[in-house]
Amino acid sequence: MDEVHTTKVVLLGRTGSGKTSLIVRYISSVFSENVKPTIGAAFSKKTVQLIHGEERKQVVLAIWDTAGDERYESMAPLYYRNSSAAIICFDLADRQSYNKVDFWVKELVEKVEQNCKLYICGTKTDLLAEYGGPLKRAVGPTEVMAYAKKLNAKFVETSSKSNYGIDDLFKLVAADFAGFTLCEAPPIEDSLRLQEPNQTDVNEKSSCCF
């Protein structure tokens, strides 16, 4: 029988960094331009199936969405307590948004007792010129990667609008939690391959897949 584990994941980040959209895309597979600012917090759940050879595991992700406004930061501990993973979001085209990442990293490192894995998530790739969007990156990927490496955090890039990197991000969170090693690289280093319309590299992936 499959082993079932539940893990708590919290999304943090400056207002407008796309936390709610990321979750809505992951849970409901839709994107809306009209997602309202989060007031209070929201909770959702999704089960991820992990298959590795004969071994099967189910991980239930209990996902907390939080308000980005600094005024409500005092409530954040209520939602990040006992989290085993935190996805800290920032808008790739907004420097203010990136500047907030370090605040959350420090808060979690300081306040969360157990080992909380950190994921730095650059959102809204669809807005970037390199993906055909109108804006330029507010922060270079090398800077973020260096920062993430220093923290032993993982860095991923996503777009809720074009549904890029989202499933991979949550699968990564689930796999890390369950102690599964992914042979698929995280989305950021894998972007070219993921964009190929036909996945011909079946053999390569067969050793470890979801």
Binding site: T15, V35, P37, I39, A42, F43, A67, R71, M75, Q96
Partner: protein, 491 residues
């Protein structure tokens, strides 16, 4: 039934030859409370718990009488340990009991028996619901004992009595509204106006004028001339505050981080506030720009508070009604005079309201309150959004306007909002309990109620519960305050 531990004189117990135990509480003033019968045991545990707070010693003259020696130190100790909003996932029985000691009141012994039931019984709540059998105690109207679990009994107090009949009306029409004014344009029929606003809301055509009264932009005694003066003066004032931020040069802005952050937050939020509503739809919608101007101007009018998320939700319907920036701004200022402290960074006001709501739930349904206690939800954070943006996210735009009129009329109480919360919570109780929802699921469930609630039913229920609570003869002072009707329409 409430007993102050400090007012307890002694406890009489049944003779050991009797088939079951009972406890009779005798108060300092000589009052003797109705006997609590423990047909299936549990009285010993009640006494054991009480002994944490008071010394009980067997009377030398009567072995069936326990004398109470108040232990002030124990009580004081419990006071310092109080945390109304305990963030620990589960409280120990002892902590919960200490909390009770703090309020120094036991709202019915249901809590004591329930506490022990929680501590020792921990049966599935579904089973309990099925097993519930109510047995009326003789000669004690208003107290019912229900058997939940062998050895423990559930005493339910504060039966709210019959539902009083409440009726709601159609919205106030412009013809009626006009009849409330005298020939000089003063709103003289204040009571009638507020009563109608409370009971039916306002027709859309009169909102632009009427909301100015409800939000203290106009005084009821303003005649037509004074209203024009006020509008003129306040429009000027608005524009001068607005100019303050408009005149900030790009260099100044570059050197003013706080302003840049505030500006970008407002910008991000107006772009996602009610954008599906006709009034705010489409690209380059001038009303979105107005919303932005009003919010940024407010953050200059009230520097300390600034802009906080949630404010855009409150301004949006006001702008829809007023249409012009200056009027909207001053109506919003009026609203913030009342509820602005909800947005304070220390969250004290919101906490205070949540704690009042907690007291209200405890008063009307201690059983459910215990459920919330034991399911990590007694902080009531699932009501945070309701309180902060006055249910704006839970109802449609139209319904929200009506609900706000009901609140702003301050007709029954300035705390009617809490009764609306109570009504919704009581409606959802069954779902929450039968699914055994905890902190996570309750928030999820409550968030998902958005746009699925029936406003008129809820308003009726809220009023019904308000009347039921108000007619209770004895209640804690904090509950009593909630039911007090203000003498006059206040700011």
């Amino acid at each position: 039934m409430h007993i102050r531990l400090s007012s307890l004189h002694s406890i009489k117990t049944s003779d050991s030859n009797m088939g079951w135990k009972y406890l009779i509480f005798v108060l300092q003033d000589g009052a003797v409370l109705p006997a609590l019968h423990f047909h299936k045991g549990g009285s010993k545990e009640v006494l054991q718990f009480l002994e944490r707070f008071v010394w009980l010693s067997i009377s030398p003259s009567n072995p069936n009488c326990l004398q109470v020696i108040d232990n002030r130190n124990a009580l004081h100790h419990s006071l310092t340990q109080l945390q109304i909003f305990n963030e620990a996932p589960s409280m120990s029985v002892c902590t919960r009991f200490l909390k009770d000691a703090y309020v120094e009141t036991m709202v019915g012994f249901s809590r004591v028996t329930k506490l022990m039931w929680d501590a020792f019984g921990s049966a599935n709540i579904n089973e309990i619901a099925n097993n519930e059998k109510k047995i009326e105690i003789d000669c004690t109207p208003g107290i019912a004992v229900s058997s939940y679990e062998p050895g423990f009994e559930f005493v339910t107090c504060n039966k709210l009595g019959d539902d009083p009949a409440v009726s709601r009306l159609e919205p106030l029409t412009d013809v009626e509204f006009t009849s409330f004014f005298d020939s000089r344009g003063c709103l003289v029929e204040i009571d009638k106006f507020l009563e109608r606003a409370f009971r039916g809301g306002l027709g859309h055509g009169i909102r632009q004028e009427a909301w100015k009264y409800l939000l203290n932009y106009y005084s009821f005694d303003f005649n037509n001339e004074m209203k024009l003066d006020r509008k003129h003066q306040k429009t000027g004032e608005y524009h001068s505050i607005k100019q303050q931020w408009q005149l900030i040069t790009p260099t100044q802005e570059k050197n003013f981080k706080e302003f840049r952050l505030r500006k970008s937050t407002v910008e991000k939020d107006v772009l996602r506030t009610d954008r599906t509503h006709e009034f705010y739809k489409g690209e380059d919608n001038p009303n979105v720009k107005k919303l932005y101007n009003i919010l940024l101007t407010y953050s200059f009018y009230n520097f300390d508070l600034g802009y906080v998320q949630g404010m855009s939700d409150l301004v949006s319907p006001i702008l829809f009604v007023m249409e012009n920036e200056a009027d909207t701004f001053w109506c919003f200022v009026g609203l913030m005079e009342r509820i602005g402290s909800n947005f304070d960074i220390d969250q004290k006001e919101i906490q205070k309201q949540l704690s009042l709501l907690y007291g209200l739930i405890r008063f009307v349904d201690p059983e459910f309150c215990n459920y919330l206690d034991t399911h990590d939800s007694n902080n009531l954070y699932f009501c945070f959004r309701w309180l902060l943006v006055l249910f704006k996210r839970e109802f449609t735009f139209q319904e929200t306007m009506l609900l706000w009129e009901v609140l702003w009329s301050q007709r029954l109480s300035q705390h009617f909002l809490l009764f609306i919360c109570l009504a919704i919570i009581m409606n959802q109780k069954q779902v929450i309990v039968s699914n055994n929802y905890g902190f996570n699921e309750i928030i999820k469930h409550v968030n998902e109620l958005a746009l699925k609630l029936n406003l008129e039913d809820i308003l009726k229920k809220a009023e019904t519960m308000f009347i039921q609570v108000k007619r209770c003869k004895t209640m804690p002072s904090n509950i009593k305050e909630l039911t007090e009707t203000p003498n006059s329409f206040g700011p």
